[in-house]
Amino acid sequence: MSRQLLVVSVAETLYALPSELVREITTLPSQVTRLPGAEPSIRGLINVRGQLFPVMDLCHRLRGVPGNEAVDVLVVVSDGKTLGLLVDDVRDVIPMDEPAASVTAPDEADTSVVRGVGHSGEMVVIELDVPKLVRSSLA
């Protein structure tokens, strides 16, 4: 079955997320409130039109190095919890088949939140397991 996926780039790699879990796309505000004790990939708390939620640096989470260039924030909602995902660039919405779950990307620092690798035409993308990503970060 074909699904709609949102493709983003993080450290020159393409990642895809189910578009129905993405509530909106916004840019990282200049003011981010640090959250004491949070893991390093959590940038902090941001205020988007009166709603507060934590933002995770996806590059840091997946590659272990801060994504300094990243400015776009995908606001994802899973299990009623809201998390911002900081990415380099938002590319496109594509239809994609179920990913081949057995294939893992070779150079991932953290593959626990990767759902699999799929492709749309010529494009090869890594699909993220968003609910798992949210669960692993939010209490």
Partner: protein, 611 residues
């Protein structure tokens, strides 16, 4: 009209309307279970409300209606057009009774005829003309013949008066499969239905009320219901969905934040006209905020009135005698806060009966009244509401608490006396219980620790005192509302944190030598009192070193005080409390965040948790 009577009248009106709707639905579909259930719920609620208000007519009448509906729900009786009519009349009578009761004219009503009719299973009298409306399954072969067959079956249990359409009409090509049978029978509708269905191909069969006939036989009681009573008086109360109030509260919160931001921006321009306009708008926003907060306030009796029963049942289970005395029922609290404080209060009340109040014989020996007294009182104190749960029981046995605490290694062996504060800290530790046996009532694993956690989570504090042989007092200090609270904004480095004013006793510029170390731990000496000293920088793990000229905030909760060292105090302001989804690993002690005038979020430091 008293406030309660008004509330009762307003709420009753909703139920009466719902009852009428349900009855009208049942009239066209007597087997509609959801309409029946809705009707039952409204009648049941009205009965309870009427009973609580002491309105005899309302509760008697609704009780009689409930009994009839009970019989229907259990299948002993089915809803017939006459019984629906009786219920409709009873609903009208109930509306009159509500109006009369709330204005003190209750005794003028006579409901005896209605009560009789409600009590007797409504079987139509022999020979009553009734009308059945029957629809055949679509596509029934030879529908005319089938319809006649059904009429023939009905003729075995009833006397057929008239069939519409007639035989010719049924056999014509225009026959749709719908027909009505007028018959005379005293049989229940089920019997008639079974007879008709025995012929097969019956899609639906309903008994319809011959309207004119019902109107011809009015109940004698009708004359006493003045139609004027049915006209709703101008309502003083309006019911609003709580979601809407929450939405308004959010908006006002945003507005308050925006007001502060506007003031900051305007002050840069130095334009007196702009300043004045901003100040005026600010005042109006403040009033709007008070108004919206006010609209969310409800009197505590809405929850407290459930508690006499809690105490009675706890006493019965424990084989004791106890009565609950409620004071300050009119005191108002934010509705969501009131709901959330209900569980902790139930726990404290059960606790008072279970561990506080002595058995009757022990009370007599101690020279006390046989019946134990539990007091539940609310009172307003400045920006907070204090709820007291007190009992005149045996008080806490400090020696036993001390012995147990020693055994568990929670106090040093040389501790000889426990202060109230220390007792609370010990009994509030998870896993502490001096009860010899876990009682059925309060020993269910949720303890004082759960109460403390809940109240602190709401931005409140718990105080405790107990005198052996005299009783125990718990005081819950609660903010009036959760959404907007006054706070002090403190900074470390470039980061801002909000400290709620409810937990701050004062702020100080430390004098030289006031910061010391005692037994290796940093302390602050305030007017001769030694307080533990925390550094906000260390608490939040902020970078940088402590600069010169730091300031100190004295926080307090449950008799405990501590000094918190901060770089700067920015000022006091009303903050809008926002929750957010907590991140794993995050330091405890932050109960939410506030949006500052510049749009950034500041974490709220929970002093209760810190201590």
């Amino acid at each position: 009209m008293s406030k309660y009577a008004e509330l009762f009248a307003t709420e009753s009106r909703d139920h009466l309307t719902a009852m009428e709707h349900a009855l009208l639905e049942l009239e066209s579909a007597p087997a509609d279970r959801s309409a029946l259930d809705a009707l039952f719920r409204s009648v049941h609620t009205l009965k309870g409300m009427g009973g609580a208000m002491g309105y005899g007519t309302v509760s008697t009448l609704s009780h009689a209606m409930e009994s009839l509906l009970d019989r229907v729900r259990s299948g002993q009786e089915s809803l017939t057009p006459p019984s629906i009519e009786t219920l409709l009349q009873a609903t009208d009578a109930l509306a009159s009774a509500v109006a009369a009761s709330t204005t003190g004219r209750e005794s003028a009503l006579d409901i005896s005829t209605l009560l009789t009719r409600l009590a007797v299973p409504a079987a139509p009298a022999q020979g009553t003309t009734r009308v059945l409306q029957i629809v055949l399954d679509p596509g029934t072969p030879l529908p005319g013949a089938r319809a006649q067959l059904i009429v023939g079956r009905l003729a075995r249990v009833a006397e057929i008066v008239r069939v519409e359409p007639d035989v010719a009409g049924m056999e014509s090509a225009q026959f749709t499969g719908e027909f009505t049978v007028q018959l005379r029978s005293a049989e229940a509708i089920e019997v008639l239905g079974d007879a008709a269905r025995a012929a097969g191909f019956v899609s639906s069969l309903v008994e319809v009320v011959p309207r004119d006939e019902v109107r011809q036989t009015p109940l004698s009681v009708d004359a006493t219901w003045n139609t004027g009573d049915l006209q709703a008086p101008l309502q003083k109360y309006v019911r609003i969905e709580s979601r809407r109030l929450d939405g308004l509260m959010d908006l006002v919160g945003e507005l308050v934040t925006m007001r502060d931001r506007l003031q900051v921006v305007a002050s840069r321009h130095g334009d007196p006209a702009l300043d004045e306009a901003v100040a005026k708008a600010g005042r109006l926003i403040g009033e709007l905020q008070d108004g919206v907060i006010g609209s969310r306030l409800v009197p505590v009796w809405q929850v407290f009135d459930r508690f006499p029963r809690v105490v009675r049942e706890a006493a019965r289970a424990a084989g004791k005698e106890a009565v609950l005395v409620v004071e300050g029922r009119e005191i108002e609290l934010d509705r969501s806060l009131l709901e959330q404080v209900a569980d902790p209060l139930v726990h404290l009340l059960r606790n008072a009966v279970d561990h506080g109040i002595e058995p009757a014989d022990a009370r007599v020996r101690g020279g006390k009244a046989v019946e134990g007294r539990v007091l539940l009182m609310a009172r307003r104190e400045r920006n907070s509401v204090v709820v007291v749960v007190a009992d005149d029981g045996r008080g806490v046995d400090r020696q036993r608490v001390l012995a147990k605490a020693r055994r568990l290694g929670w106090v040093t062996d040389d501790t000889e006396m426990l202060s109230d504060d220390e007792v609370l800290r010990i009994i509030a530790r998870p896993g502490f219980s001096t009860a010899e046996q876990v009682s059925e009532v309060s020993g269910r694993g949720v303890g004082i620790d759960a109460v403390l956690a809940k109240v602190r989570g709401l931005g409140g504090a718990v105080e405790f005192s107990s005198v052996e042989g005299k009783g125990t007092v718990f005081q819950l200090r609660l903010p009036v509302t959760l959404a907007i609270i006054p706070a002090i904004i403190a900074q470390v480095g470039a980061e801002s944190y909000a400290l709620p004013l409810t937990h701050i006793s004062e702020t100080v510029q430390p004098a030289a030598g006031a910061l010391r170390r005692v037994q290796g731990r940093p302390v602050f000496v305030l007017r001769g009192q030694v307080l533990p000293l925390y550094s906000l920088r260390a608490l939040v793990g902020a970078a940088g070193r402590d600069p010169e000229g730091q300031q100190i905030v004295i926080v307090e909760a449950t008799d405990r005080r501590a000094a918190v060292l901060v770089d700067r105090l920015v000022g006091q302001q009303d903050i809008v409390v926002k929750s957010f989804d907590l991140v794993r690993g995050m330091s405890a002690g932050f109960s939410g965040a506030a949006i500052l005038p510049d749009g950034t979020a500041a974490l709220i430091l929970d002093a209760g948790g810190l201590l």
